[in-house]
């Protein structure tokens, strides 16, 4: 079970970080969620792994540490709220920035330079195949 836990945490973290480095909003959100799962599993395992050990004293011979489970609950709630906020933010960003890159390389205060920035961006960053039609070009 230890090996399974360790491998799952490792794989989830690796996927999460890989997706975050994609630097486009949807993969980044997916990456953050995966990282969140990895963190929750990790936090859970900090109470030591045991089977047939409920987190209540007196129900079985051994009992699990209830505190990490409470912490995981808190972390899940917070992660849920934060994910909801990020999703709203990227929808807003998609509308305002007119692209779905995390890095708004235009970085200017006014909209005048936006189009020039868009055409520059389309060159070095090949769009992912599935979204090539919609993401690569500026919106009308």
């Amino acid at each position: 079970m230890e090996l399974l836990m360790a491998v799952s945490i490792g794989v989830l973290t690796a996927c999460g970080i890989y997706l975050m480095l994609r630097a486009r909003t949807f993969p980044v959100v997916m990456g953050l969620m995966m990282l969140g799962y990895a963190v929750n599993l990790f936090l859970f395992s900090m109470g030591r792994l045991a089977t047939e050990a409920p987190a209540v004293i007196g129900r079985a011979e051994t009992h699990a540490d209830p505190l990490p489970q409470a912490l995981v609950l808190t972390a899940i709630v917070i992660g849920f709220a934060m994910t909801a906020y990020v999703v709203i933010l990227i929808i807003r960003g998609r509308k305002t920035l007119e692209h779905d890159y995390v890095d708004d390389r235009v970085n200017e205060r006014d909209h005048g330079v936006a189009e020039q920035g868009l055409s520059k961006r389309a060159v070095p960053m090949p769009p992912t195949p599935a979204s090539a039609e919609t993401d690569g070009e500026p919106r009308p």
Binding site: L35, M46, G47, L71, T96
Partner: protein, 510 residues
Amino acid sequence: MSQHLLILPILLPLFTGAVLLLFSGARLAWKRPVNLVASLVLLLVSVLLLLRVTEAGTQVYVLGNWVAPFGIVLVVDRLSALMLVITAVLAIPVILAMSAGTDRTGQNFHGLMQFQLMGLNGAFLTGDLFNLFVFFEILLIASYALLVFGGGRARVAASMHYVILNLFGSALFVIAVGLLYGVTGTLNMADMALRIAALPAEDVALVRAAGLLLLVVFALKAALLPLGMWLPAAYASAAAPIAALFAIMSKVGLYAIFRVHGLLFGEMAGPLAGLGQSLVWWLALATMLLGILGVLGARDLRTLLAWQVIVSVGTLMAGWSLGTQEAWTAALFYMVHSTWMTAALFLIAGVVVARRGDAKDSFMVDARVASPAVGLAFIAGAVALAGLPPLSGFVGKALLLQAAGFSGDMTVFWVLMLCAGLAGLLAFSRAGTSLFWRGPVADATTATTASTDQPSMPLMPALLLLAMSVLLVAGGGPILDYLAATADALLQPTELIRAVLGDRYLPGGA
């Protein structure tokens, strides 16, 4: 009743914020006074707590009577009380400045402001590591919403970086907390300090990893060099009063480093004592250098100020990594000063933006701000921030240099400190010349016709904060005594540990 004073800095903003959100459809004329009065009461409570801590030492509030280390405790020591007062003093001018009309450009500023204060105060008060994480999340989610307040391309773009980086930081924070809990079996920071002091040799590496992870998280919030590149865009694009409020946000990371690393990895920690200090020293110096370059390269006032924040973060972290009582006293003084003065200048930048119309605060020759009052306030703020006498910046820098001493190791630090002052002076002179001297006079009519969405911005809140600089110098003696005692208590945390754990604490450790 009076023992419940300790939890008021959390409950008061919580309920005020909840009420303000509940009646979010109410008129601003009604919300503004509620927000302001709540913050004034908060200031009063914070000052009372500060006085009580000065008189009676560290105060502990045991939530739900769950005895430490089993429940969560709130701890007010000198550092916490100081941070509460800094925050409350900062909040009032910010609310005044926003209430002049900028709060109309978005929704729910007043409620968000109270939640921001709640998160900040909670982070300063809690004595529990996981609770610190929770309050960090509260202050962060409020700051996410405040950063995009008013909307616009630059804010959304900067906010994207800020939010995603901080979410990643939160993940690291939870990993570090989990690791520390897994090794020490406690979340109470005082108890954890004792467990770390009596750590078996085979667990040292794990705790070191966790401590360094925490340092990464806090350095991300404080914007230390490799992790601080989000800051200039975020601060420069936020509405000016909100950027002023964010002056405290980067100091939260610093507070956490002083608190967590001072307590867990202090002298008692044996092989882990002073964890990360030598690494942070060089990173801090590099941060200062980068900040100086940024200050010189800035093309508008708010970006210039954002880079000044980076310079002050580098200075403060360098002061922290010196690790002596004198250095920490000086760093704490500099922290108070730089928080208030950066905020004052952000508020002045807000005035400039409001009066110059489309030119905003960029250093191009366009409509100039003809008001002598604004110009003089700008000079005062620039003198304070660049570290010239007679204002508080000079005192802070002199103390830091004195604490560093003049030895060969410190050459780089001295050079960077003096260059930071020079760069600040140059940049502010150039800024002042183009904003206040050159170009045609910006009168109120051109400003309002050029951009109708530009709300007015009063100068008075900035003057309030500038007055605090005078106060810092005039009351320098008592303030420095207080800060010296704070630094002592941070370096020798036995008083805090005894206050939290009571009789269970044995002086020999474990």
